[in-house]
Symmetry: C2
Subunit: 332 residues, 2 copies
């Protein structure tokens, strides 16, 4: 696959190649996926057998509109994961100057570049108004940097003057959506929302674009009907309407993130950052730590652009916490 | 959704709107989906929770390559259903003259048209060499017309002379793949293969393009990684390697198709056509029959371009056969 050169979390095949002697089972902390998944209900055979109906599909989009605070479900486009939306968006514009606020999730720059656009990674919002498309991940992955809604609205306003787009990837906004652009979506902004990370169901493949016309229609068109599976529609619409689960998960994962910070702090040269689903460690011993963790079967996320950073997802269950603690203890 | 104006099978919401007094449960004969599905195995929670790995994805594509007789798994692109491939293909070419051999599955002409190409539906292969893209559904839906592999190879050869593509939708070729273009795929041909119809698992969303470079890479790129769900990968690779199930299904569905023909023949003005998953009835009383079936809660496929045709999928279980027989008996 042509995607192989981008590093991603979640590929234990790569972990096993790098550390063939590591003990099994591997602990995968390389993603920002909630390790305590939303409980998948019993799925009737008909969900697998029948094509999802337009009404089912709409129902999922309505649940998403409500969960994300969208004014109108018509702006919600359901997809089999946000990745396909990230890959498709660049095909909806003529060749453009694209600025990606980075470093960030690598697929954005990669997708716009592959589609023939002129892509630059930029370190701040200053001067971005001249780009045709600005891509922001908010909160950012991996460092959790959170831009204010007002700053994004201002940027969108300036971009609109010359037909530019603002793409905001809110993949990690579910647990803290105070700065989400969804409730005030400008006519030239596209927000991406991921389902699998918060709900711990990345294998189901559900994601959403929230976009005004005509962008939403173009995205629907490029995906065609039935892009989301029957099981995904069923689980997704149930989970997105379960506010109680989300609130409880927020409390529990915040506790986990605090516990993780306490373990990582002795190795860190700077304050830990991130969201409650991942923590970014910066330290001069990051390389050495990556190696020690790998040898003990613990897979964390390193970065092609900065060997002094490691991203940690949340462990799941006391056995994983203890194995992590043992390795980190040697670095204190 | 902008797709609403195309009629499709499988939408019982539309059936209930047209026939609000019909008895429940509805019998849905409006699709060409095998009513006896491949048995879905128990799916471990990890398939829902984790992102599918590149190795899992490759494994599905290898199973498809073997099942379809492809020379090399690298030409197989797995997708969440063939529909998204049909929607994406038009985005991979500059504005082109597209000829769709029709009448046929409406999404082909619709997708090329929406993407800005000049689309014509043509009744035969004669003179098609001058088009930039020719789309053929083989065997055809709804009439089962089967073009010979040699004719398609000849057409592909002529198209190649001026950079043209041949797109062959083999959605219904699994049970009779003798004319499939896959084993001899020309460098300018794209074959689409559907999983959900043959295996009765349309809700899972799996489909494949078999395409040479650079088309396969462009399609992968537009889909991005992880477009196919974990459960779909697991079920798909198992089913595609189960030759015994496919052989048994071929026998059983052939019996069903013969039994259906016997019921339909008295109402038909012409020989019944189609594949073993659907039968096309032509008759002056088609309209009247559609009405009578609908009033009895039996939903069949009618066509915007020809009110003298109805397409019947296969009933499932003796109760369905008897309800169908009762209505058809009034037309004998």
């Amino acid at each position: 696959m042509s995607e192989a050169r981008i590093w991603h979390g979640g590929d234990l095949g790569e972990a096993r190649r790098l550390f063939p002697q590591a003990p099994e089972p591997w602990i995968d902390l390389s993603t920002g996926i909630n390790p305590i998944a939303y409980p998948v209900p019993a799925l009737p055979a008909s969900l697998f057998a029948r094509l999802p109906s337009p009404a089912d599909h709409r129902n999922l989009e309505e649940a998403a509109a409500e969960a994300y605070g969208a004014k109108d479900a018509a702006m919600v486009v359901a997809a089999p994961g946000t990745q396909v939306l990230i890959s498709l968006l660049p095909h909806l514009r003529p060749r453009s100057r694209v600025a990606v606020l980075g470093p960030t999730y690598a697929e954005h720059a990669h997708s716009w570049g592959k589609a023939g656009h002129d892509v630059a990674e930029v370190p701040s919002l200053d001067g971005l108004d001249r780009a045709d498309v600005v891509v922001v991940v908010n909160p950012n992955n991996p460092d959790g940097r959170l831009l204010k809604r007002e700053a994004l609205l201002h940027l969108a306003g300036n971009l609109r003057l010359h037909g530019g787009w603002l793409v905001v990837d809110e993949a990690f906004a579910d647990f803290d959506s105070g700065e989400s652009l969804v409730p005030v979506l400008p006519s030239n902004a596209i927000v991406l929302r991921s389902f699998g990370k918060t709900y711990g169901l990345a294998g189901l493949r559900i994601g959403f674009a929230l976009a005004p016309e005509p962008i939403s229609t173009s995205l629907r068109s490029a995906l065609g009907p039935w892009a989301v599976s029957g099981p995904a529609i069923e689980v997704g619409r149930k989970a997105l309407r379960d506010q109680g689960w989300l609130d409880a998960a927020r409390v529990a994962r915040t506790d986990d993130a605090c516990r993780l910070d306490a373990l990582l702090r002795p190795v860190a040269d700077a304050p830990l950052r991130g969201t409650i689903l991942y923590r970014l460690l910066e330290g001069s011993r990051a390389d050495e730590l990556f190696q020690a963790l790998g040898e003990q079967g613990i897979w964390v996320r390193r970065f092609q652009y900065n060997s002094g950073q490691l991203r940690f997802g949340l462990p799941c269950g006391e056995a994983e916490w203890q194995r992590l603690k043992t390795v980190l203890g040697r670095f204190s």
